[in-house]
Symmetry: C2
Subunit: 211 residues, 2 copies
DNA sequence: TAGATTGTTAATCGATTAACAATC
DNA sequence: TAGATTGTTAATCGATTAACAATC
């Protein structure tokens, strides 16, 4: 269980809102010095109460009568989200999506080091994509066991996703970002975030129809 | 406001779960004939109550003492999510992410027709990507006004995202799938789904740290 | 000091789960 | 018929918002 400043459980919805706060403070930095939860709420489309309660899980960042110092809070969020720490990541599956992520600059800007790529296609194993060698997925377990790796990004077809996630689990991976359109069958102590592109566009499609 | 079978409001969380139900029924089809909400709940990691209540917003699909017929419910979800209808989509921004989406087969499998691409880079305007011509973003408004277009996918840098979404709004787009790491400033009657990859991996990074 | 604004607790709202009559 | 399972209403749980004492 994930605990906040006083040992209380932090709701997952709050954790998932944290990067959004970071985005706002990053944007506001160098524009102004401070702002209140009321003002930030107007900018974000959230209530001032929610902002104060969300942030209070992580620390006492504000000051009565003043508000939040932007530079300071941005720095605190940088630490909380480990943006200032190098985090080693790997990608499994260098098809369409995996290949695009290889070139995704935002990862390195946020402190994520892409260290290895894996695939099962003999025609690309051994080649380099964006100067990173594509390894055989057969070597995945051995690689993760012997190289510090925090997060694995799964970008394989859905038919292969559970086999890959099983290998990652056994190898001691710490977290998984899953792009395969399937729910991974993993114990709930290993954090998983899903990016189901098709689910999003289908929900959109439904909302349009009924509008 | 989006209304269900008896005119009641359908919560957004329920709409966003709908594609997931579709995935399960698609997967179960040809494996078995029927299943109960209890059994489906075990498979999905959800409560039987939630499944029955979620589905009841859209219709009476089950039968007492029997459960849900898989083929029938899959077909019903296909209609509800318009998977059987052609939906015209366009992509704005053919950088890293936009280009990958151009080759994303799952879109056409779910009934989405990618009809046009837009960018502002003179060196790619006029060229073809995956046999679709890249148009000048200056022609975006004119294109959307004169060609039936339901959904626009924004894959431009965050600095350009709000300008693009403003043009789309004025042109009468029906829904937006946004990949830019910024919150679009749009009236709330136009449905938007965000895919913030960096937010997801940062949340994961936090969860790992505190584990 | 007076005004502003925090962090936190209490009240409210909305979503999830439990219970059950209806009925296949 | 008896057992199973639905759709729906009521109870519970969790998240959001409102209120306010503390204090810069």
């Amino acid at each position: 269980m994930i605990k906040g400043k006083d040992g209380s459980k932090i709701p997952r919805v709050v954790i998932e809102r944290l990067p959004r706060y970071y985005r706002y403070f990053d944007w506001l930095d160098n524009q102004m010095e401070k702002l209140s939860s009321k003002r930030l709420g107007e900018l974000m489309g959230a209530s001032a109460s929610q902002i104060r309660l969300d942030l209070s899980y992580f620390g006492d960042f504000g000051q009565q009568g003043y508000g939040y110092n932007i530079k300071k809070l941005k720095q605190d969020l940088t630490n909380i989200l480990r943006i200032n720490t190098q985090t080693n990541i790997i990608i499994i599956g260098v098809g369409n999506v995996g290949r695009a992520l290889t070139r995704y600059r935002a990862f390195s800007r946020a402190g994520f080091n892409l260290n290895a790529l894996f695939d099962n296609d003999p025609s690309i194993i051994g080649k380099k994509i964006n100067s990173i060698k594509v390894r055989d997925v057969k070597d995945l377990k051995n690689y993760v066991e012997n190289n510090d790796t925090s997060i694995a990004i799964i970008a394989v077809p859905k038919e292969a996703a559970n086999e890959v996630s099983g290998i990652l689990l056994k190898s001691g991976i710490k977290g998984i970002l899953n792009f395969a359109p399937i729910d991974l069958n993993l114990p709930k102590n290993i954090p998983v975030e899903n990016i189901h592109i098709i689910d999003k566009i289908l929900a959109l499609s439904f909302m349009i129809k009924k509008q």
